[in-house]
Amino acid sequence: MASTENEVRISIKSDEDILSARQEGRELGVRLGFGPSELAMIATAISELARNLLLYARNGSIICWAIEREPKKGIVIQATDEGPGIPDVEAVLKDGYSTSGGLGLGLPGVRRMMDEFAIVSHKGRGTTVTTIKWKS
């Protein structure tokens, strides 16, 4: 998968890909002018989302791109996969939910760090988590 100047696309197949995704995501954030504390949150969110893909999903990828909603500018971080889908989305969004002995999905945390958060999941077909951080 390829990345261009304003978009990052990484297929997550190994833990090395997690590092690449967060490195490139961070670099995109730098190009968009985010400050250090926002960059840390962007990189951490990517890391967590990517880890979920590695642990639980088939054919997962991380896609990041720049977004503008006059007058705000921001970055979209999206994690998408082809399965197995999350059976109970509400449950995984409850604080304290965790599987795999503490590694869990960390979605409530990701939602806290990002400004906008949306998740769509179909059992058997796949999940897409979309988050946005706006530049302050």
Partner: protein, 303 residues
């Protein structure tokens, strides 16, 4: 993103209209000095740009006029956007307001229109086509200039607010390894975020082992901010500092308990003085009086 949507002003239409446009631009260029002077006169008459001197008005109206004609001629609006932002950056601190900026651009359009009317009134058909060409372009120019100005204004206000927030919450190094963060006023989520950043950076810069966060001056705290406070305390710990929260009023304490904030996660002391004493204890200090204060004062005066 922007490169792919290079905005053009000139409508791509039938043959002949580009001829009309060319003649229009020609006319405006030929009569440049007269029209520009007329415009400057009307700006002064309407009492706009009073914050600027005559020389400045002369310089800027010349630039704006030339830019205006250029945009009409080339159809490219990016240069105008850049110019508008640039100009705005200069005049906003001088106190020029939005209605003045919109006003002068409208006046310019009026001056140019009247000039076209005067020159081409005998050729109604050509005049109509000229107006057809001129109108959307002129409208786009006004919108671009106004939007550029407003955008710049918002950016400046935003910057000033950030500066005020930063100033209003100083992190005070009191003793070695002890920081005090007195917070006064309402904390909204954005300010809470900024406070955390300041606190953590302060811990690192001052190598603080204890931070006393005093909220005596905060009237109320909602659950978002309360949870944020807990997170701040936890983050400070990761940097090796213990945070003590002081000045929680009984009302706020009640709210926090009702919301379900785990107060065990925070050390709290009822007032700032108590907080500093607790901090001293944690740091291993003991404060002892050496002299009678009045003696001390005499000594200072004598020397």
């Amino acid at each position: 993103m922007q490169a792919s949507r290079k905005r053009k002003l000139r409508p791509r239409s039938q043959s002949g209209s580009s001829g009309v446009f060319t003649e229009l631009v020609e006319h405006l260029r030929k009569n440049r000095s007269g029209l520009r002077a007329e415009w400057a006169r009307r700006v002064t008459e309407a009492q706009l740009l009073t914050a600027m001197s005559e020389d400045e008005i002369l310089t800027e109206t010349t630039s704006i006029y030339d830019n205006y004609i250029d945009v009409l001629a080339t159809g490219a609006v990016e240069a105008l956007e850049a110019y508008a932002r640039n100009l705005s950056e200069k005049i906003i601190p001088r106190g020029v307001e939005t209605h003045e900026v919109i006003g002068i651009v409208l006046l310019l359009r009026d001056v140019l229109l009247r000039s076209l009317l005067a020159a081409y009134q005998s050729r109604a058909d050509l005049l109509t086509r000229m107006l057809d060409a001129f109108e959307p372009a002129a409208r786009r120019i006004i919108v671009t200039v106004a939007a550029g100005f407003v955008h710049e204004r918002e950016r400046i206000i935003h910057e000033q607010q950030a500066a005020i927030r930063e100033l209003s919450t100083p992190v005070l190094p009191v003793r070695e390894a002890l920081l005090i963060l007195p917070i006064v006023g309402v904390i909204d989520p954005q300010r809470a975020h900024q406070l955390t950043g300041q606190l953590l950076r302060g811990v690192r810069a001052n190598r603080a082992k204890v931070v006393v966060i005093d909220v005596t001056g905060v009237p109320s705290i909602d659950s978002t901010v309360a949870n944020h406070l807990v997170l701040t305390v936890e983050a400070a710990r990761l940097l090796g500092a213990t945070a003590i929260v002081t000045g929680l009023s009984p009302e706020i304490a009640q709210t926090l308990v009702t919301i379900g904030v785990d107060l065990d996660k925070m050390r709290t002391v009822c007032d700032l003085r108590g907080g500093i004493e607790e901090a001293d204890r944690l740091l291993g200090y003991r404060v002892t009086r050496v002299n009678d204060p009045s003696e001390q004062a005499e000594q200072w005066e004598g020397s």
